[in-house]
């Protein structure tokens, strides 16, 4: 990565500092794992989340029905004959178009989990790097980078999405691009704020004084100290991402019928909640809620586990 690597006989101070940081880093992760495993709420949540994943990817094995075939006898009379039932193996009943809701929830779970996780990852990676660089480097570069964020936050997002649709056409990939475009903005503001404060701490000043290179400082010293906030905020972003998907799909860029997602299922269920088909809201919302709970506790568990001060 750096020229120094080509010349191992003459290690520089920076290199040494990096090695030291690496050693420390390793113990941090090991420590963290132990602490995470001890956190009951987080472990239970992890199990729940794994179950939701298993449901998403193997749930279809439990049902003879697919997510698109309409039962013509049920269509138009869902409130009366479309209830959840184990006897006819429509465990979650029917949706408003007379399709098996169970297999729709299974398939929607795949999409929404993907969206939530990919969105949060983009936010974490891009937002953290961007914010940390801006905050640490400071000065004009910080100013320019943050003004760019100001602009990106206020630009009419819908037009960006429509333009993506027109230029690239519809695909699942574009959905992630659409999500990713906004996901990192808030994160970068928060990370920058934290960085501004961390940057004045003694250990950073020490690293700067010993001549550690800026990227290394950011990677080895700033980012680990940010992880607490980043993880907690990332879990806050997950539900937001999952719901943003339904807006993107509304514009025609995301998933289309007969494919579905939690956002679409919840919004459909909400529209009919007063018409005697409450299960159409209950099942997708329950999955959404349980998953978000799991993400939150895992986030908190990770935060506690990763807190560098808590060693």
């Amino acid at each position: 990565m750096s020229l120094a690597n080509l010349n191992p006989q003459q290690p520089k101070t920076a290199e040494m500092a990096e090695h030291m940081a690496e050693v420390k880093g390793r113990s941090l992760w090991a420590d963290a794992r132990v602490r995470f495993v001890r956190n009951k709420a987080a472990m239970v949540s992890l199990v729940v989340l794994i179950l939701v994943f298993l449901f998403a990817f193997f749930g279809h094995l439990l049902t003879p029905y697919d997510n698109e075939t309409i039962d013509w006898n049920v269509l138009g009379n869902v409130a009366k004959v479309g209830q959840p039932s184990f006897e006819n193996r429509h465990y979650f009943g029917f949706d408003d178009s007379g399709r098996d809701l169970y297999s729709r929830v299974v398939q929607g779970t795949q999409i929404s989990l993907m969206v939530g996780i990919v969105g949060a990852m983009i936010a974490v990676i891009v937002g953290t790097i961007y914010g940390a660089v801006a905050g640490f480097v400071g000065g004009r570069i910080d100013n320019a980078m943050m003004r760019f964020v100001d602009i990106a936050m206020s630009i009419p997002y819908m037009f960006v999405l429509i333009l993506l649709l027109v230029v690239f056409g519809r695909s699942i990939g574009m959905l992630f691009v659409g999500i990713g475009l906004t996901a990192w903005l808030d994160m970068s503001r928060i990370v920058r704020g934290q960085t501004l404060s961390i940057k004045n701490k003694e250990f950073i000043e020490a690293a700067v004084a010993t001549g550690v290179r800026t990227p290394t400082i950011i990677r080895r010293h700033i980012v680990p100290n940010l992880l607490g906030v980043v993880v907690v905020y990332a879990t806050l972003l997950v539900p937001q991402m999952i719901l943003t998907e339904s807006f993107i799909s509304f514009l025609g860029l995301g998933v289309q019928e007969p494919l579905t997602s939690w956002g679409a299922l919840i919004s459909q269920g909400t529209s009919t909640m007063n018409y005697g088909t409450l299960w159409q809201l209950f099942f997708p919302l329950a999955f959404f809620v349980v998953t978000i709970f799991a993400f939150f506790f895992i986030g908190d568990g990770l935060r506690d586990a990763l807190d560098p001060k808590d060693r």
């Binding site: 138009g76 509304f250 529209s271």
Partner: protein, 540 residues
């Protein structure tokens, strides 16, 4: 020869204007409720209340209350006198002379004169006004309309003239039998020149507006509500029963229904699929009646369309496999009508032609559809792949899901559904960049040509890019015919043979309405041109 419509109009005027004077009783002697306010839900904010600018349905409803044109419609959609009492038609059938009501006044006390109509119509035609309904002067076939809209001639050349304060003379480009029908359209209403000159674009604000209709705009909070109240200067103020009308903007139809059930509204739309259960729970409140609109699927017959649907057998097969009964009975469930013709049966003077497959059972249609598709060379080894384009909306989505499944289950056709946001959809469809796309049309006036003109080669709304010289010729001839029905029948027959569009269903208006008001609601008026002055609430 002079044709006079006076007698006919007068008769209906008498029938209409006589009652309602005894305090506390309605036109037919019903006891009236103490509270005569009417509150209804609108989907979206209205575009304007300026008669020459308004372009949307909810805006036109308000404009019909605030302003009064030459003629109004009664509960059945027939013409009744408005500001005009009657008209005479010259022998060449090109000049109409309207006698105006001398007692009509604007809300500031100024008499309504023929000059106000001349000003309104010239304003409509004027390129400076840039009205989205500027083309309506061409629909009315007014003399020099085309040249004036193109800016080649001054507005004073338009075929409309004030002979005196109460006589209006209209000259047409060529004879057009249904001309009087066009005078109920909001864009033909008079405008107060002195108010527009004084306030400019702000003249429609509640504090400035001057009107000649039964109501005056008293409050307008964009995206929340607009209120209109009794105009004391209106010539038939005595006969007007409803005191105050409020339009509440509620975007979400389910929320609107909740608020209706909570007693906040007198009228709201029924969400798709909810009519049967509401009818069961509230038999005296759920209403359904035919509307002048159709819903259909466009094939793309242009060069850009897919090869498969250029084959008439494929188009026939796809049409036959659509089970319209399921669409109207199980998906929409609001008393809509399965469609086998392009023109709705509710259209005035239109006799629905015999379309062969309309009388088959669905099993027969499905069998025939399979045969046709096999003949065209598609089957399990070579499945047909199509994309269906629609704009994002709950009802369109439900229809798309159902039809795609019908095609898949009956014919093994794989349909990819694609939704787009409205303007993107319009652009895509307008550019013929689709395989099959939804379409819908509501009649501008109550005559079959308003629908059938769409399949003319030159029509601006012919998204299927359908072109048939015989159809064009038949429709052209129909304009000048006294009884165009044989031509219309023939056009419908050709359409059912060549199937450039698949008719799916014809609309119904589906409302929840409080029983106090539903008795006076004009359910027979398929254009749903309703006037608050004709409504009243009966005592329970």
């Amino acid at each position: 020869m002079k044709i006079t419509m006076r007698a006919a109009l007068l008769a209906s005027a008498v029938a209409f204007a006589s009652p309602a004077l005894a305090a506390g009783t309605g036109p037919n002697g019903e006891p009236l409720a103490d509270d005569q306010t009417f509150t209804y839900r609108v989907l979206d904010e209205h575009s304007s209340v300026d008669p020459q600018i308004v372009e949307d349905v909810s805006g036109s409803e308000i404009v019909r209350d605030l302003f009064e044109g030459l003629y109004n419609q009664d509960a059945d959609g027939n013409l009744v006198p408005g500001v005009a009492l009657s008209h005479e038609l010259s022998e060449d059938r090109m000049t109409y002379t309207f006698k105006l009501r001398p007692e009509a006044k604007w809300s500031d006390g100024t008499p309504v004169t023929a000059g106000d109509f001349v000003y309104g119509w010239q304003r409509l035609a004027d390129p400076e006004t840039a009205s989205p309904y500027q083309w309506f002067v061409s629909v009315m076939n007014l003399k020099n309309a085309e040249a004036i809209t193109a800016g080649e001639m001054g507005v004073e050349e338009l075929g409309v003239k004030a002979i005196d304060d109460h006589t209006l003379e209209v000259t047409l480009e060529s004879p057009m039998t249904y001309f009087p029908l066009t005078t109920t359209h909001a864009s033909t209403f008079p405008s107060p020149k002195w108010v527009i000159d004084e306030h400019g674009a702000d003249w429609t604000k509640p504090e400035n507006i001057v009107v000649n209709g039964a109501y005056i705009l008293t409050e307008h909070v964009p995206q929340e509500r607009s209120v209109r109240e009794r105009n004391e200067m209106y010539w038939d103020n005595e006969g007007t029963i409803i005191d105050k009308v409020t339009a509440l903007v509620i975007n979400d139809e389910n929320v609107a229904l909740t608020r209706y059930l909570a007693g906040e509204l007198d009228r709201t739309e029924v969400p798709a699929g909810q009519y049967p259960s509401l009818k069961e729970q509230y038999p005296d409140q759920a209403l359904s009646f035919p509307r002048l609109c159709n819903y259909y699927f466009n094939f793309n017959l242009s060069d850009m369309g897919p090869e498969a649907t250029q084959d008439v057998r494929v188009r026939q097969a796809l049409s036959l496999a659509v089970n319209r009964d399921i669409i109207v009975e199980n998906v929409l469930q609001g008393g809509q009508f399965p469609a086998y013709t392009f023109t709705p049966a509710a259209t005035a003077n239109f006799e629905v032609p015999e379309i062969e497959y309309a009388n088959w059972t669905q099993a027969e249609r499905d069998a025939r559809a399979k045969e046709l598709l096999a003949e065209a060379g598609y089957g399990p080894d070579n499945p047909l792949e199509l994309t269906y384009l629609y704009n994002t909306s709950e009802a369109h989505k439900k229809i798309a899901i159902a039809v795609s499944q019908m095609w898949k289950q009956t014919l093994g056709v794989n349909v990819t559904l694609e939704n787009q946001e409205w303007k993107t959809f319009l652009e895509t469809r307008g550019n013929h960049d689709f395989e099959i796309a939804r379409g819908a049309w509501c009649g501008d006036y109550n005559e079959a040509s308003t629908f059938l003109d769409l399949v003319q080669t030159e029509s601006g709304y012919n998204d299927a890019a359908y072109s048939n010289a015989e159809v064009d010729q038949l429709l052209k001839e129909a304009k000048a015919m006294d009884d165009p029905q044989p031509n219309y029948t023939r056009v419908e027959e050709i359409l059912s043979e060549e199937m450039p569009v698949i008719p799916i269903y014809h609309y119904a208006g589906v409302y929840m309405m409080v029983p106090e008001i539903s008795g006076s609601w004009p359910v027979q008026n398929v254009e749903q041109n309703w006037y608050s002055k004709d409504l009243y609430k009966v005592a329970e």
